[in-house]
């Protein structure tokens, strides 16, 4: 079976934007990859698919799932056909994310200091103070260079007409960047010469840019600051990412028990005694980072680290308290924030969002539940979510009850169909729904976005859920020059 026949069987859905096929056939961005593989037999394609799996496994790019006391190594499913973005598309995305991130960062500074945005009636005070991720301890705490959102992952989706929408902002500890790097390194193994021939922009600068920013954050205090990456440990599902980033940046990968705080200074325990730490890129959530201030039962954090941060002796990256800005209910105010803080029109659109704490919104949503996605405001990973078109009557009723009990914790959005991209599954080329998470780095010298990102794909046919915990996989993401 040859590619042509594979292609012939590729059926796009009406009212779904397909990344590869337009009304006029194959889109220009995809012509190179199609011509590169059109002569390959199904056997050769399957061989490439197998090779990719083997490479992930042998390089230990795995996460461990524990069941019945035994650890099973799993790979994050990878689809070998890349998702490709034209230079102009990327420029639009890049500008949109930079604009959004600037506004969100000012919002965080404002909300933890003067709160002009509340006083001017743009964002209701109730919304902020009822947000479980608003960290009161961060009020009036200054952070270096007023940067809160050092690393952000902005999830983008495309509607049926190809318009990009921001689905959510991840401003706490967004993960997935190691897959962006590893997917690329697998692609050039399975498709030799194709990347340079297609003029794909490189993503390998990410660790260097990140390190430059991390070092820069303490430059006002020290000429050669010590930077570490704080991980919850080897059992965390993103541990591979933590160790990869630490290695690529050449910084220490520490666990909570490696650090201690003395006189508001953070030290790591080394074989030659204690060594002061100046910047911590933490991959431990706010709740667990300091048992003296947040969850008292946390074994993953460092007692006293909040105090060290407050007194400016250490910089925590991302800043604590960012959850208030990526809360799903606050999300609907981001376009207003952009207008308020930057006096600009938003470049990237928001998905229309109904706050369910308002009775009139609940009425609208409940009347057309089958066309809505209802989400809990403080959950992620595809949990706490109801997709109306796929839900049973019983599930809808249960969600209604839950919403009525705690309306502040829910929002609803009309179902956006998500664009589809070709995936090689079981020897057949099939369309599957995708999203895109570019990673933005905010440092003292500005915002950098590596050209690419993580394309997540819903591998189940018809599914709109791309999260890895819910059967999602990933693709390499190419941005063309």
């Amino acid at each position: 079976m040859e590619w042509q026949s594979l292609l012939a069987g590729y059926g796009t859905h009406p009212r779904v934007w397909d990344e590869m096929f337009g009304n006029d056939g194959i889109r220009p961005a995809y012509r190179n990859i199609v011509s590169a593989i059109e002569d390959l037999s199904a056997g050769e394609m399957s061989h490439k698919d197998e090779l990719a799996k083997k490479l992930f496994m042998s390089q230990g790019i795995t996460f461990t799932v524990y069941s019945s006391g035994e650890g099973i190594e799993k790979i994050f499913p990878f689809d070998i056909i890349p998702r490709i973005l034209e230079a102009a598309e990327w420029k639009h995305i890049e500008e949109g994310i930079k604009q959004r991130l600037k506004a969100l960062n000012i919002f965080l500074k404002d909300i933890y200091h003067q709160q002009f945005i509340i006083k001017d009636g743009i964002v209701p005070a109730k919304l902020i103070y009822s947000c479980p991720n608003f960290v009161r301890q961060m009020v009036n705490v200054n952070v270096p260079f007023d940067i809160y959102t050092h690393i952000a992952g902005i999830d983008l989706i495309r509607d049926h007409d190809g318009t990009y929408y921001v689905l959510e902002d991840n401003l706490r500890t967004p993960s997935g960047v190691s897959y962006m790097l590893e997917n690329r390194s697998i692609t050039y193994r399975i498709f030799p010469d194709l990347l340079p021939r297609s003029k794909v922009r490189s993503v390998k600068d990410y660790p260097d840019l990140l390190l430059k920013n991390l070092v820069g954050l303490a430059s006002h205090r020290k000429s050669n600051p010590t930077v570490v990456l704080l991980t919850p440990g080897i059992y965390n599902s993103a541990y591979f990412e933590h160790s990869t980033l630490a290695r690529l940046m050449g910084i220490e990968l520490v666990e909570g028990s490696d650090l201690l705080v003395d006189n508001h200074k953070v030290y790591m325990k080394t074989t030659t005694g204690l060594k002061q730490v100046d910047v911590i890129y933490r991959r431990v959530d706010d709740d667990f980072i300091d048992p003296l201030v947040f969850r008292g039962d946390s074994m993953l954090g460092v007692p006293g680290i909040y105090g060290a941060c407050r007194t400016g002796q250490v910089t925590i990256v991302n800043a604590m308290g960012n959850g208030v800005a990526d809360d799903k209910a606050v999300y609907s105010f981001v376009p207003a924030m952009i207008r308020y803080y930057l006096n600009e029109e938003p470049i990237l659109k928001n998905v229309p969002t109904y706050q369910l704490e308002f009775p009139e919104n609940r009425k609208i949503v409940f009347e057309s539940m089958d066309k809505m996605v209802i989400k809990k405001t403080n959950e992620s990973g595809g949990y706490g979510m109801l997709i109306g078109s796929a839900a049973t009557e019983k599930q809808m009723e249960e969600f209604k009850v839950a919403v009525e009990e705690d309306p502040r914790s829910y929002i609803a959005q009309p179902i956006i169909s998500l664009s589809s991209a070709p995936c090689y599954i079981n020897g057949v080329l099939q369309p599957r729904r995708v999203d895109l998470r570019p990673f933005a780095l905010y440092g003292p010298e500005g915002i950098d976005i590596v050209p690419g990102g993580l394309t997540r794909v819903a591998l189940k046919e018809g599914s709109l859920v791309v999260n890895s915990s819910q059967g999602g996989g990933s693709k390499d993401t190419w941005v063309l020059e």
């Binding site: 230990g60 035994e70 080897i234 990869t244 630490a246 910084i251 490696d258 790591m268 074989t271 030659t272």
Partner: protein
Amino acid sequence: MLSRVADSVFWMARYMERTNGMLRILRTNYISSQDEVKDFNWHTLLHNYSDAGAEEMDAIGNHSVKVLEHPLLDKQNGASVINNITRARENGRAVQDHITKEVWQCLNDYYHLIRDKHIYNQVKSGDPVTALDALIQQGMLYHGTVDITMARGEGFNYLNAGKFLERAILSADMLNIKLTELGYNLQQPLELPALRYLLYSLSGYELYLKTHRGNLQADFVIQQIVYNEHFPHSVSYCLKQLFRYFERLEAESLPENYKQLEFLIGRAMNNVKYSIINTADGDGLKRFLEQTRRELFGIAAAFNQYYFGNS
């Protein structure tokens, strides 16, 4: 270097060395169980490399394939090779930023290899030697990868300190296992097959033949395993190498901690160097091996206390 990292690197090396030693002794014992030794019994070996009870050991003690499966692939056996490799990998995983990517991938491959169903099938119903050879080869690949990719820094020194300490313990243990099987009675006929297999297990048979021209005698064998400074598995050689890599850590040590370890390693070296082995005195030999073992474990405990912060 973080104390935890030093601890993990040290233990990663110990588990890998232990794996190598166990695989070799299992291979040799399996071959000897199939070859010429009559009434071959695995009890002494199981006693060292299993946490099974006496009853369980009796049940499998004379069944070579079963006995091989237990110290090799049994996840319930805390001392099995599969658990050692898993622990080495877990330690490696925790210090991925301090070992090279090649070393990590090699460890990871080792982990996947021993879990491969082909290895299991070979042990269970095929040719166990093929499985053991594949595993030993992966171990050699690991050692080579460490040697040619790791920077000669603190991590490398801890790796080697762990490796040579574990190897010294293994050599002392293997000698003790064989001598226990012989009841510490070495006044037996000259050609003891058990001693030849012991040398095989320690990769020392060829050296022995070259040194002693085929004249296999208990005291020469023991001399080689304890004192020969050209034999990479002798207790003396291992201690000397341990000291060599430990000395390199001086610049990265707190002086008081360094002194403690320096004293313990120096004492162990001298106690071995200035000992006299008399094969006629089985009890004396046993006491010597027990004392050496105690001192080696004392060194491990001191590393733990003074360098890894686990008091």
